[in-house]
């Protein structure tokens, strides 16, 4: 058995092999994801502009704005009508040239694509941030923290409590609590805002202990602590609404997931080996299923980006959902495209991160796809 020691140390060479494969695998993924984002963003540009039809609307708008300006300007009051019309035409022509509306849409769309891919989001057409900025970037950045805070809190709470409770329930299959959760799972058929309405009714009006909506008290309280306390009070109801609407379904699906995976042969083998139940849970149930768990966690995180239009409306929460809703209403294409572009990049980044994580978590991915 003198050779066994040397053989055992041979394992140290393996990380290098793993790393090489990982690098190759990642390069491929980055290239593939770049093209995915490219196509996604281009499609958004194409559809948000209705394939160029929005330009006609824009042209009408420009013409009426210019005409209005010229008419309102006292300097041009004395001009003859055909001269005034010529002036309007000239100004419209300038504006068309500035926006390059005379070029075919297909060429401009490629230009938009280029700008979008470089995260040059441009200026909004109608909308502006609360501070009056017209940059799409500023408008989005202003709304982002509100959405992240509210939805992040709710989703993290749901995720971790559901996974933990599900693991406990899968150990006590068929118990009273298990059956209670299964019976309650259909409550998730109703969306968060539905429960929100009832929560507002009960806790803001019948028993007025919590605010009905908004993000902080008006006017905002002075001092960090007072501000945070007010924010927290305003968060309770929307977070509770989202929690109630998704927790039972989440527990139910995780519980089923863990039940399926705890009847794998290698789990039974681990039981036969007499391993302690905690170790079995950690190494034989959670460890092999970490990839799907991490996936759903990451997708949950980027799902935060969109916010939720109706829930934000119900709770009067100044988030991204409301913003997108307004942008669609105003047909403010730069804002729509901007928010989609950022989402596309976030999604691609998350997918890439997941790919790396899969490779780290699962040797089958790492060693198989690296190339042979």
């Amino acid at each position: 058995m003198s050779g066994s020691k040397a053989d055992l140390t041979a394992g140290r060479r393996w990380p290098l092999r793993d790393l090489q494969r990982l690098a190759l695998f990642m390069t491929r993924r980055v290239v593939a994801l770049f093209f995915t984002v490219l196509v996604g963003v281009y499609l958004t540009i194409f559809f948000a502009n209705m394939g160029g039809r929005v330009d006609e609307l824009r042209l009408v708008q420009i013409r009426s704005t210019v005409a209005e300006q010229v008419r309102a300007d006292s300097a041009f009051r004395d001009l003859a009508s055909d001269e005034r019309n010529a002036l309007i035409e000239q100004r419209v022509g300038l504006e068309v040239e500035r926006l390059r509306l005379d070029e075919p849409f297909i060429w401009r769309s490629l230009d938009y694509l280029n700008q979008a891919m470089r995260l040059d989001l441009g200026r909004a057409e109608q909308m502006h941030s609360d501070q009056g900025a017209r940059e799409v970037y500023r408008i989005i950045a202003e709304r982002l923290p509100a959405t992240l805070l509210l939805f992040g809190t709710a989703n993290l709470l749901v995720f971790f409590s559901s996974v933990w409770i599900a693991l406990v329930l899968s150990r006590h299959y068929g118990s009273l609590w298990d059956r209670v959760v299964i019976a309650l799972a259909p409550t998730s058929a109703a969306p968060g805002w539905y429960y929100g309405i009832f929560l507002i009714l009960i806790f803001a009006f019948l028993i007025p202990i919590l605010p009905a909506g908004g993000m902080v008290r008006v006017p905002p309280p002075e001092g960090t602590w007072a501000y945070a306390a007010s924010l927290l009070r305003h968060m309770v109801l929307p977070v509770a609404a989202m929690f109630i609407s998704s927790i039972f379904m989440a527990i139910y699906s995780w519980r089923t997931f863990f039940l399926i995976h705890s009847s794998e042969d290698y789990v039974e083998m681990a039981r036969a080996k007499g391993l302690p139940p905690r170790l079995i849970e950690r190494r034989y149930i959670l460890r092999p299923t970490l990839s799907p768990i991490v996936t759903s966690f990451a997708l949950m995180l980027i799902g935060l980006w969109g916010g939720a239009i109706i829930l934000e409306k119900v709770f009067n929460w100044p988030g991204l959902g409301t913003l997108l809703f307004q942008a669609i209403g105003y047909r403010d294409t730069p804002v729509i495209i901007g928010s989609v572009v950022i989402f596309a990049y976030l999604l691609a980044l998350t997918v890439l991160l997941l790919d790396i994580l899969y490779a780290v978590l699962d040797p089958r991915v790492r060693l198989d796809k690296g190339g042979r």
């Binding site: 058995m1 050779g3 066994s4 020691k5 053989d7 055992l8 041979a10 394992g11 393996w14 299959y173 068929g174 794998e264 042969d265 290698y266 039974e268 083998m269 681990a270 039981r271 036969a272 080996k273 007499g274 391993l275 302690p276 170790l279 190494r283 034989y284 460890r287 092999p288 978590l361 699962d362 040797p363 089958r364 060693l367 198989d368």
Partner: protein, 341 residues
């Protein structure tokens, strides 16, 4: 009895709860096993062989109920132990199992060396290095190169995986190793390789084996003792030589006649009929419906009769045999072809 048996099983019962009623998968099984002995449990699919293995290790699925009887390991009734003590003191340290689905019995995301060394670290508190060295020694024993310790299960072939699972069962040097159809998923050559490893280990380590299989031909190489299982019960338990030469139970005789042999003039026979459902087993002898030698008494449940030293038969034909039943059984030997139709 100068050698006290290592494992004594008496009236072992295991019932599954199903929507159509209880299924008595193991129904009053009893046998004993001496140190260093290999017992083969033969039986058709669905006769309760795997349930027997699970019952011995108390690995019960969720719908199991009513595990009863006695399992004495070196005199101690381990079936009566509390669950936690059974887990810590019996599982794998004293009784190990090679599962039927050995192909999927390895955790896909943990290196096989870790998995083989794991019981040592958990049950004996060994250090990683120490446990890995023992794992390497066990790998050598079953014929796997020790650089495979660093591999993942999906990097191994079926035969290699089976050997690794075998190594995992042997690493703690348990007193009894239960092998549940260890070779049924493998090709003939790999099967032969595994059987040779088992024979060598039996000779070198003196481990006791319980080999569960439906493959009469392969099992005969390893067996010291044979137990024949039918519809949840042991119908015959005997020394291997005795069993293969002079099977006593009509089912055993038909089974032996159905095994094809080299240089055999007659065609191998097949046993007509189907084994009974374990949901509602027939009253009386469970084999009666297929038995060519049934008679009136078969309507009653047969007792277990001695048909020689350490030879037990559950059949009314042997009711009057006391001590040596050699001539009687020989005189009743069935002509292949079975006139029972």
């Amino acid at each position: 009895m100068d050698v006290p048996p290592l494992l004594e099983v008496a009236d072992l019962r295991l019932t599954y709860r199903t929507s159509r009623g209880p299924v008595r998968a193991v129904d009053g099984v009893g046998f004993d096993l001496r140190r260093g002995e290999a017992m083969v449990v033969l039986g058709e699919s669905g006769c309760g062989k795997s349930s027997l293995a699970k019952a011995l290790l108390r690995l019960l699925p969720r719908n199991a109920e009513g595990l009863g009887g006695q399992v004495r390991l070196a005199g101690e009734d381990v079936l009566a132990l509390p669950e936690e003590r059974f887990r810590a003191e019996v599982r794998w340290t004293r009784i190990a199992l090679v599962m039927q689905a050995a192909m999927s019995a390895l955790n896909p995301v943990v290196r096989v060396g870790e998995q083989v060394a794991e019981p040592l670290r958990v049950h004996r508190g060994w250090s990683r290095v120490q446990a890995m060295e023992q794992a390497a020694r066990t790998f050598a024993l079953v014929g796997v190169a020790s650089d495979f310790l660093q591999r993942y299960p999906f990097e191994l072939s079926g035969g290699m995986r089976q050997r690794v699972v075998l190594a995992m069962a042997l690493v703690t040097e348990p007193e009894v190793v239960i092998l549940d159809e260890p070779t049924s998923a493998l090709d003939v050559l790999t099967q032969a390789g595994i059987m040779n490893v088992l024979k060598r280990i039996k000779a070198e380590l003196g481990t006791s084996f319980i080999l569960i299989t439906h493959d009469v031909a392969t099992s005969s190489e390893l067996a010291d003792r044979v137990a024949l299982m039918y519809a949840g019960q042991f119908v015959e338990v005997a020394d291997a030589a005795d069993f293969f030469a002079h099977p006593a139970h009509p089912y055993a005789r038909l089974l032996m006649a159905s095994v094809p042999r080299l240089h055999q003039a007659e065609r191998p026979v097949h046993i007509p009929g189907q084994p009974p459902s374990l949901l509602a087993p027939p009253a009386g002898c469970r084999f009666a419906a297929r038995c060519p030698q049934r008679f009136a008494r078969c309507d009653q449940d047969p007792e277990v009769f001695a048909s020689g030293a350490r030879h037990r038969v559950r059949c009314w034909l042997h009711a009057d045999t006391v001590g040596c039943g050699e001539e009687r059984t020989a005189s009743r030997t069935l002509r292949p072809g079975g006139e029972g139709r």
